[in-house]
């Protein structure tokens, strides 16, 4: 401040300029002495002053909390946004991709079921139906020549019997 004011007034007078310079050097020397007596000599002044102006001391110590403000306003908000978008990316954007895959698998399972039970089911039903319906006939179809011969003989006997019955 002092230096700036001195610069502003520079063209007014040399005396003022020198005076201002002297004042600013004086202030600097006073500051130096205060610092020297506070910190270089063993003294509890630093602690006392800090305790007395606690708020100011803390604010100065933390550089007026500019970093914290900056973090709260921008840095952490950007991180939140990043985290949120990441969640969005893995749940929604990638979720849709995985859902498409899962949907494909589901429809594959569905069409597998359909194929097994409906399409192939009809085929097997046709076979099964014929199989079931043919059961009584199949009983006679044993494949043994003796059986067929027996049935033939029985048939011949029945026929012969019928004819004979008519003539009697």
């Amino acid at each position: 401040m002092v230096a700036a004011a001195a610069a502003e007034e520079a063209h007014h007078s040399v005396a003022l300029e020198v005076g201002m310079a002297a004042v600013s050097v004086g202030i600097a020397v006073i500051g130096f002495l205060i610092a020297y007596t506070t910190y270089a000599k063993k003294s509890d002044r630093a602690e006392r002053v800090a305790a007395q102006f606690k708020g100011l001391y803390q604010a100065l110590l933390n550089k007026w909390y500019v970093d914290e403000l900056y973090d709260a306003l921008w840095v952490n908000r950007a991180k939140d946004l990043g985290r949120g978008l990441w969640r969005f990316d893995s749940r929604i954007v990638d979720g849709l991709v995985n859902e498409t895959a899962a949907g494909t698998v589901r429809s594959a399972v569905g069409s597998g079921w359909w194929d097994r039970w409906i399409v192939d089911g009809l085929v097997r039903f046709a076979g099964g139906f014929v199989k079931t319906a043919s059961w009584p006939i199949r009983l006679s179809e044993t494949g043994y020549t003796q059986n067929y011969a027996l049935v033939m003989i029985v048939g011949v006997l029945v026929l012969v019997g019928y004819v004979l019955w008519g003539t009697l």
Binding site: A78, L85, V93
Partner: protein
Amino acid sequence: MDFFDRNILSIITFWPLAGMLVLLLIPKESTTLMKWWANIVAVTGFLVSLPLWLSFNFDDPQMQKVVSVPWIQSLGVNFHVGVDGISLLLVMLTTLIGPLAVLSSWDAIQTRVKEYYAFILLLQAGMLGVFISLDFFMFYVFWEVMLVPMYFLIGVWGGPRKLYAAIKFFLYTLVGSVLMLLGILALYFQYPTIAAMHPEISSQFGTLPTFNVLAFHAIGPYLSESLQFWVFLAFFVGFAIKVPMFPFHTWLPDAHVEAPTAGSVILAAVLLKMGTYGFLRFSIPILPDATVYFVPMMVTLAIIAIIYGALVAMMQPDMKKLVAYSSVSHMGFVMLGMFALNPNGLNGSIIQQINHGISTGALFLIVGIIYERRHTREIAQLGGLSNVMPAYAVVFLIMTMSSIGLPLLNGFIGEFTIMAGALQKNLWWAVAGGAGIVLGAAYMLWLYQRTMFGKLDNPANQNLKDMNWREWATLIPLIIMAFWIGLYPAPFFRALDKPVNKLVEIVKAASPPDAPREAREIR
């Protein structure tokens, strides 16, 4: 020599493939021989690509080193290759990153060594094929071929959730590329109709359906707006997933975190560029009206990616995931510059693609180095590492600065040019981009502070070894590139000058959208 010069693109592309076939013949026990062989193939692959850069004519706006041989004639498919300045830079980036990725695997990969190096070399061939293809069918083949080795690299040599990540990567990309294929087929069947009406096109490219990308460029301005609209959307899905653009980016953090270091490096440095390359090579020149129409959508998604990616990156507890999300943000920059659609924006976009390859590739190598020593990537586990690994700390710092965009390093050139392009279009685009740069500095510096500075209080970190010669060798080329582009980017801009102007002219003819279509000339 003449044969070499004429077929240089094919030689560059199939060099790693030939190397892979020889690798397969090496006996299973000779793992050291395999490693040496893979490294030799990768390094010579880079050396073979140098003549391409040296013999490239920077003043020629046409495709160069073009070779076209019929492949499947009944379908109109040709083996058709060629490069312009854009693909030249991406080819060079690929051949540069390849050997670094291979070398970085020396100690990290101990199981199934032969398969590992075979897949990396195959991947290299696939990526190179993508950048040199001038036939859309061929492009699609390479685009898909490249998926397979990457799938195995993540799925076999990856982290704890490798299968999830590998399958997600594969299916996600495949969904996009199938839609892209529909777009390709729409152009394929549309071509004869338009060629029939324009003799100057049919005389050059014939009247039959074709996959010739140059033919598609020729018919682009005559495609109806509705067709352009739908094909653009189809391409968009394919390329946006690859870039990746918001909201198609979630495969990326998973793939990056689970992939082995070399996989992450290649993924970030080269694979993502295939998406942006797709926009540059196909969407913009073939579909100029739709490009102009979709600018608001593209720019919005790009800006979301920049800021969103940066914020999400900031909160990641895992170093690798942080770098992965930073990729989302950086690729947002690339897309922002691209869809500014002016020379600055496009130049910056392409330069930034190269820069991202360099700095993010390097960052993944850096994360890999610490992971090999500590088997963790958790930021909270690290801290104070600059005390035990000073050289590592320096390299990490350089690459952090490069990623942030500090002047004298490559990132600055790219970001500055993109910002200039964005500013010419719209002040707010540049403002949003600027916010992204600030956030980028925030997450990178914070990461650096938490890992490198502070107290070395974790006992596990106290005896870490600094980088060995092999790790230096993987990073030095990238440091050189970072400074080269940062100090003297002129050769790179010179390579881009002609192709970028061509793109700008095409788009200019398309906007404003209500200009009479007949007035347009064919380019």
